[in-house]
Symmetry: C2
Subunit: 507 residues, 2 copies
């Protein structure tokens, strides 16, 4: 991030106040807003369109691996949640509890809750226990395995400090739940779904990620192993962008999910669960956004192109609109990665604010069309990944012919820019003093500016991990999968270690 040197559409700019920039850029891009309900967001059409495309991508990748969608109850009886001790412990502090099932006039004439429930219901924070109840009914024999289920749903975790997309009391997500006959098969599935999250992030969201194992203290409550994909945001903090859990037989035992083997013995199944959420939108904003707004990767943008007809005199209107609409029709017939190009036409009479609105909303391509362009059979295009002033006139035919190539080029340039940022702010560090310096804010007024990701050794002790978190607000993001074994000594306590881990501050 370079210091602000010119007028930008978003104030403050990233370098001046990154957290506030994040709030302002969401507002300016019209993605979402806070609702009147504590901690809950409203996802506006532009933001929801983005989520629809992310859902479409993931849903299709899941189904390719044999997963089918289903739907399970919103409410979980308290006794179900209590079946797995670590699980309920992990979620008890943030549960929305339903206690009554109607309203009636109270003594002061106002409506008050009535019809108390005999057992409180918890609004699902995640669905392992309620889905486990169904799996126990559905699975009887080895022939029923593997069982591969996903659900698209809303979940509620009562967060005290919320931030749109990153941490809200209600959010939208998918949660996959699978059951297998063997440990090996369940572990393979855990890894396969992590790969799909990595593929979604890198190929569609243009967001490079590191795949790895969480340390025991960062595991999902009740899991044997948690895998995650971690991305670097532009303030060099990590964003966990999808997790895949190997649950061993913990939830099978809690919900009594057993099957009869071919040899007719009764065994517990092995389960997995894996989830990703509207948090990914926060990742897209913080990975690609600049001081003029958000920048959407073309493959997941709700629309790839906006046409901006320029009409200075009333008599020009018909010709300009006709040219615009015929171009829109032509573009919509183009196939872009299996789907039609989506086109917006913005003919609002609001002057230059119109182009800036679309820059702030991050649409990949802006196309201006005026009488001179029509005469020349050309269009005047601006790419969102370039400077707003850097526009060029090209022939209409060339534009149509090269459209998907240009979009792919934007998609790739966004990924490469993000990868370059991560590389520039990742270091292998073996010296404790240097490690502490790396994570120490350069400026006390901007505690968010620091070094980035450190690949350093860890002894494996939770005490050491806790000490680092306490001293520096730095956590082990993951023990990377794709890394060589390497002997070394713990960055904090000097005990022996066999592998580097990824240390970072995180959202």
């Amino acid at each position: 991030m370079s210091k602000q040197s010119k007028q930008t559409a978003i104030s403050p700019c990233r370098a001046d106040d990154y957290p506030e920039w994040y709030q302002q850029v969401i507002k300016a891009s019209d993605l979402a807003e806070r609702s009147s309900v504590r901690g809950c967001m409203v996802i506006k059409p532009w933001g929801y369109g983005l989520w629809e495309n992310i859902m479409r991508v993931m849903d299709s990748l899941f189904k390719t691996t044999g997963v089918k969608n289903a739907y399970f109850p919103l409410f979980i009886p308290l006794s179900f949640l209590e079946k797995e001790a670590e699980h309920v412990e992990g979620f008890a502090k943030e549960c929305a509890v339903v206690s009554h099932h109607r309203l009636e006039k109270g003594p002061e004439g106002n409506l008050v809750p009535a019809g108390p429930l005999t057992e409180p219901l918890i609004v699902r924070p995640t669905s392992e226990t309620i889905i486990g109840d169904s799996f126990a009914k559905w699975i009887t024999s080895y022939r029923d395995l593997p069982l591969l289920i996903n659900q698209w749903a809303n979940v509620v975790r009562w967060e005290m400090r919320t931030r749109i997309f990153l941490r809200t009391s209600e959010f939208l997500w998918q949660e996959g739940h699978t059951a297998h006959a063997t440990r090996e098969e369940a572990e393979e599935r855990t890894r396969l779904m992590l790969d799909i999250y990595a593929q979604t992030a890198e190929e569609y969201l243009a967001m490079p990620v590191i795949k790895g194992h969480k340390t025991p203290s960062e595991r999902f409550p009740g899991a044997v192993d948690t895998l995650s994909v971690e991305a670097m945001m532009q303030d060099y903090k990590a964003l966990q962008s999808g997790t895949s859990h190997f649950l061993g037989q913990n939830f099978a035992k809690a919900s009594q999910i057993t099957y009869q083997t071919a040899a007719e013995s009764e065994e517990y199944v092995w389960t997995t669960s894996w989830g990703s959420s509207t948090r990914l939108i926060g990742g897209v904003i913080m990975t690609h956004g600049d001081d003029n707004g958000i920048i959407l990767p073309p493959k997941i943008a709700p629309s790839q192109v906006v046409l901006l007809p320029i009409i200075r005199k009333p008599k020009e209107r018909d010709a300009v609109m006709h040219y615009t609409e015929s171009l829109a029709q032509e573009l919509k017939s183009i196939n872009y990665h299996g789907h039609a190009i989506q086109v917006e036409i913005d003919n609002r009479d609001i002057g230059g604010a119109r182009g800036w609105d679309w820059i702030k909303k991050g649409i990949p391509l802006r196309v201006e069309i005026g009488p001179r362009d029509i005469d020349a059979e050309s269009v005047y295009i601006g790419r969102r990944d370039k400077d707003p002033k850097d526009r060029q006139s090209i022939s209409r035919n060339q534009f149509v012919r090269e459209l998907t190539t240009v979009l792919d080029d934007i998609q790739i340039s966004l990924f490469e820019r993000a990868l370059a940022l991560r590389k520039a702010h990742t270091q292998h560090i073996d010296d404790k003093r240097q490690f502490i310096d790396f994570f120490t804010p350069r400026n006390q007024e901007k505690p968010e500016i620091h070094g980035g990701f450190a690949y350093s050794h860890w002894c494996g002790a939770e005490t050491c991990e806790a000490q680092i978190k306490n001293d520096l607000k730095v956590t082990i993001r993951c023990i990377p999968i794709e890394a060589d074994q390497e002997k070394g000594t713990c960055i904090y306590c000097n005990q022996p270690s066999t592998q580097r881990v990824v240390y970072a501050k995180a959202y």
Copy 2:
């Protein structure tokens, strides 16, 4: 419905006990089941696949009319619901109330609700008031109108007596909400969305419907006018299959949704809302199902074709599976109404039960493939809309070539069969005695068997409507839109009337 004369897959058959047949057919078709949470259902993969296709159809039709999707909070503050008096009155008796936001150890060591909320939150039964809160922020000028929003979501209405798909405490639906500058435009939108519900029902679900206005007593709480589409089930009862409400300025006043006109005066907007739900699946079951299971219209079936390889000797396996898989690949490349044909391969070694499983699940076409079929380059097909024994051998080439034609033929035959049933059980009745007879059960043990739909006159008085409901359990389903004005006298009280209405028993 003819009396059961032979062995059928579902017991009891429709004629013997229609309500119980409904429960059994859902179980046998593997669509859904009751959950361990009171009144909530689990939608299983086959049922959810059906819902995914229904969503895809409606979502696309909505978007064609300019509607965009968004997402609003699950929770509604009690004070919001109270803003519209009739509205809260209508939903107070069936609200799930969230009262606490965490759990903690109680005096007896068990977990109890803690962190009481200062204002109770209601789990949305519908979202007029919470969406109205956003609309009030989003709309300032006539330039912001019309605002056309839809949301796909779960809602909760605490029903005391539940039946899967027809009436459950939680269900999935879409709710559209629009705001307009004029009354006329809002009324037009109300009607347009009703037409889309009718189109979805008739063209996709193969379910003929009658479009009409609800009487004042059957209106949505807070609406000025409620339109609905009504279908006849095979027990001659009506199923309301989608409603579209003209809300006037009631909710605009409740939520203070105003706009500045071009002449710079401040006016309330005019709003509409419209919804349809997983109840439609209940409609599909009861419209098309027979004594062997459900029958799915090809356009919305999760899969159109199941291939059943027949392997009697191990040495036949490779050849049969190769032929089956190559046929599956060929079928999947066929475009059926804009989407690829979906194919299942069922190679379970369970004998004849396999074919019956797919009959019960209602898949449109079953295709058996054995060594003799391979030698003859043929397939042996069974249509779900025909008798299970009525199967035929045709050449593989012909099957592939004619597949979409056959599917369209099944789609049409289902619609025509349903339309014929409705015609056969609909009467114009002008005599009170005859009207009472029409709705009187033929057999006291089977109160569900009666005449069907009666087109008869109504004076317009709520007292008369209430009397009919009380005496016969018959309600006015709608005042049909597509009917001529005709002078007559009320079927119950003989007062003058200008139009026939549709009387029926209803779900």
